[in-house]
């Protein structure tokens, strides 16, 4: 089934063999590595930890957005602190974020005396080659800074937003730590793991462009910056989807469904053809975008799911078939996790709709909810059930998270016209 990624929250046993090379690298880089802690102001205790690394002389530290996400959304509740290799702690100020690539820049106050001494990481000028040995640095589970050797395995194939496939164990708490090559240049940032030594990194050029943009202009409000990034990303994604070829494919005996021909949308299928006692033969195809955007631990966006279901009555009458069919479509839910603080409740519209090709008659339902912090972004849900055949049915359904009105409606229109009987 679907590959399942968690944001570096899974524990793995790490075989910490340190080659001489790794040891040398580690000692050289240690002073500019930090543990990033989010402290809950009211309780005075840390609520989340991650890693970070300094990338400039004046104290800019790069980390993951998801390490400091609570602060970005609730700046009054938390403060960000660092802990360096010497055991010193201090305050950090959030400067800029890239929610799409899960990056953040925080700034450490530098004393004029010590500023000369502190080394900082250089970002690599080139991308690594496949099989190149890399070293991931970070502080897993608050156990202290470690170095993990691993291999560069190219970019993850099916992703819309690029991620490096790194073979090496990345663990919880290493998020935001750098991954360097033998020359000690940063080529990626730890971001996620899929278990069994499959790790994912944000390519260094994303950090480079975030840093360059930051040098040009410091963002006025983190929230506005996030809104702009989310809007731009969904525009890019929806443009690519709407302008890609949609191939008509048959589902079951008589259904025709669209398959969007882009690498980052992957499809899976299932049916109950093996169950002899089933009253209804069901074939399901579902396609989804294999990634989403982390906004907070209870709020994800940027996901997309499409599902088609072909049903055919076996030994039952039309009336019973439609009763069971209705039960199948009565409980569609959102495709992304979001809470009361993030979104409004869904509002729905339903009607009987016949597309212009006149080949199918549907009961169609369209629901949407708005984002409270990011105006003009919505989650949408569409569900359509054919009502023109006595013993056959075709259900088409999709959810898109974090999309604007224009793109949502353009997609819905194209989708509605693409589903039919053949």
């Amino acid at each position: 089934m679907k590959a399942f990624f968690t944001l570096v929250f899974i524990v793995l046993s790490s075989s910490s063999f340190a080659t001489e090379q790794a040891e040398q690298l580690f000692n050289q880089l240690k002073p500019s590595l930090y543990q990033i802690k989010l402290i809950d102001k009211a309780s005075g205790e840390k609520s989340s930890i991650g890693s970070g690394f300094q990338i400039s002389k004046d104290g800019i530290i790069a980390t993951n957005y998801h390490v400091i996400s609570s602060y970005a959304l609730h700046p009054k509740k938390y403060r960000i602190e660092y802990l360096n290799s010497e055991g010193e702690t201090g305050l950090l100020a959030l400067q800029s974020v890239d929610v799409i690539n899960d990056l953040a820049l925080v700034k450490r106050k530098m004393d004029s005396i010590s500023s000369d001494d502190i080394a900082f990481f250089q970002l690599s000028k080139s991308t690594p080659h496949k099989g190149e040995k890399l070293f991931s640095l970070g502080n897993p589970h608050d156990l202290g800074m470690i170095v993990v050797p691993g291999t560069y395995n190219g970019l993850k194939k099916e992703s819309f937003n690029q991620r490096i496939h790194f073979t090496g164990s990345i663990n919880s708490g290493m998020s935001g730590g750098p991954v360097v090559n033998k020359q000690a240049e940063v080529v990626g940032i730890n971001v996620a793991t899929s278990g069994n030594s499959i790790g994912f990194l944000v390519p260094h050029d994303k950090l480079e462009s975030l840093y360059q943009a930051f040098l040009q202009a410091v963002p006025e409000s983190i929230e506005q910056q996030m809104a702009a990034q989310l809007t731009a990303n969904q525009n890019k994604l929806m443009n690519e989807i709407l302008n890609s070829p949609w191939q008509a494919k048959s589902l079951g005996k008589h259904g025709t469904i669209p398959i969007i021909d882009v690498p980052f949308i992957r499809c899976w299928g299932d049916s109950n053809a093996d169950k002899a006692d089933a009253l209804i033969l069901t074939a399901v195809a579902n396609c989804s975008l294999d990634e989403n955007t982390y906004l907070s631990s209870r709020f994800f966006t940027g996901s997309m799911e499409i599902e088609f279901r072909y049903m055919q009555a076996k030994d039952i009458g039309a009336n019973k078939f439609y009763h069971l069919y209705q039960q199948q479509i009565a409980h569609a839910g959102a495709g992304n996790r979001a809470g009361k603080d993030n979104v409004t409740q869904y509002q729905c519209h339903h009607d009987l709709v016949m597309p212009s090709n006149q080949t199918i008659n549907n009961k169609s339902i369209f629901c949407t909810r708005a984002y409270k912090k990011f105006p003009d972004l919505f989650d949408v849900l569409y569900l359509s059930a054919s009502i023109d055949k006595n013993k056959q049915a075709l259900v088409s359904h999709f959810t898109i998270a974090g999309v604007d009105q224009k793109n949502a409606l353009a997609f819905t229109r194209k989708f509605m016209e693409a589903v039919s009987w053949n």
Binding site: Y325, A332, Y346, H349, K363, F366, F378, A385
Partner: protein, 337 residues
């Protein structure tokens, strides 16, 4: 002929006839006596014209005498006394009281109402048009048919909603169970009317209730057809929902009409209250169970087989156009918080 005869009688007899009603504490009639003699004795012993079994009443408690064209009460120095106990009037001693039409007197723990024979009675109550309906429905054949129809529908609903194959007995048991469950209501009403010393009329209650239950199934189907054929902007579905309220009110009205004697106004108030309790109560339960925030959309997915489709479908353009209004609505909601 009879009218003339009655006039003759009144002229000949100088005594005004007195009607004495024994009534219960909540003014329900227990016995009625019509007396035509100048002196009436009331008490516990067997010489009296009206014998009361109440132990708080003296053996010869009072006498009511016709003096100077008037009835006068005389209390025979009783232990517990006699009182005029009219509604809306202060209670006072009844000794030497001149009787007026409709007076209520209390002796011991008993009450008597005194009426003259020319006391105006309520106008005749015509049979309600429902009477013939009730008579039809309580007929054993009609009753059997409506209960069988109810069971059949209950069984078919179980059948339609079971996602697995089922045999006859698997449907029969829940269907009969549901029928028995629904029969509890008319049986309960009949029991209450029996306990309150009125006619139970079980057959009539059963017949009318099941006829109304069947009408409710029918209105359910009607409602489903309307919601299936209409878009979410259609207000017709609200009217259809209203029919189930009307049907419930009719059921309770008929139940009380069959089971209890009460004034027209009171019957309407009682059935309206039960209806309100039923619908208001179920709404309240739903409302209290409603979560503060629902991450799932709440939509109407009513679908029926193609033969129930009676309206034309909209075009994709119309659907998109109507759906686009939701964005402004939710955005307004998001910004208002």
């Amino acid at each position: 002929m009879e009218l003339i005869k009655e006039e003759l009688v009144t002229e000949e007899v100088p005594v005004r006839e007195l009607v004495i009603e024994e009534i219960s504490r909540n003014h329900k009639l227990l016995h009625r006596h019509k007396l035509n003699k100048p002196s009436i004795n009331i008490g516990r012993d067997y010489h009296n014209d009206i014998i009361l079994a109440d132990p708080h009443v003296c053996p010869s408690h009072i006498s009511i005498d016709f003096i100077d064209e008037q009835w006068q009460i005389t209390d025979n120095q009783t232990v517990n006394g006699t009182f005029v106990d009219n509604f809306k009037e202060k209670k006072h001693e009844a000794n030497q009281h001149i009787v007026r039409d409709g007076d209520v007197i209390s002796l011991g723990k008993s009450q008597l109402r005194l009426l003259f024979s020319d006391h105006a009675v309520e106008p005749t109550l015509a049979f309600s048009p429902f009477e013939s309906f009730i008579n039809l429905m309580r007929h054993p054949v009609a009753l059997f048919i409506s209960i069988a129809f109810f069971t059949l529908i209950a069984g078919s609903i179980f059948y339609f909603n079971k996602p697995i194959e089922v045999n006859f007995s698997q449907l029969f048991v829940p269907a009969i169970g549901m029928t028995l469950g629904f029969a509890l209501w008319p049986a309960g009403v009949a029991l209450v009317s029996h306990l309150s010393k009125q006619d139970a009329r079980l057959m009539a209650q059963l017949g009318v209730s099941f006829a109304l239950f069947n009408l409710m199934w029918f209105s359910d189907v009607l409602e489903t057809i309307v919601t299936f054929n209409s878009s979410s902007d259609n207000i017709l579905s609200i009217f259809v929902t209203f029919t189930s309220v009307i049907l419930a009110f009719t059921l309770f009205w008929l139940n009380s009409y069959i089971g209890f004697h009460m004034s027209r106004k009171r019957r309407i108030v009682v059935s309206a209250s039960i209806t309100l309790l039923l619908f208001g109560g179920s709404y309240l339960i739903q409302y209290s169970k409603k979560p503060d925030f629902n991450p799932r959309p709440n939509y109407n997915a009513t679908i029926m087989m193609p033969s129930f489709l009676i309206t034309n479908s909209s075009s994709v353009d119309e659907f998109i156009n109507n759906s686009s209004k939701l964005f402004d609505k939710t955005k307004k909601e998001a910004l208002s918080e």
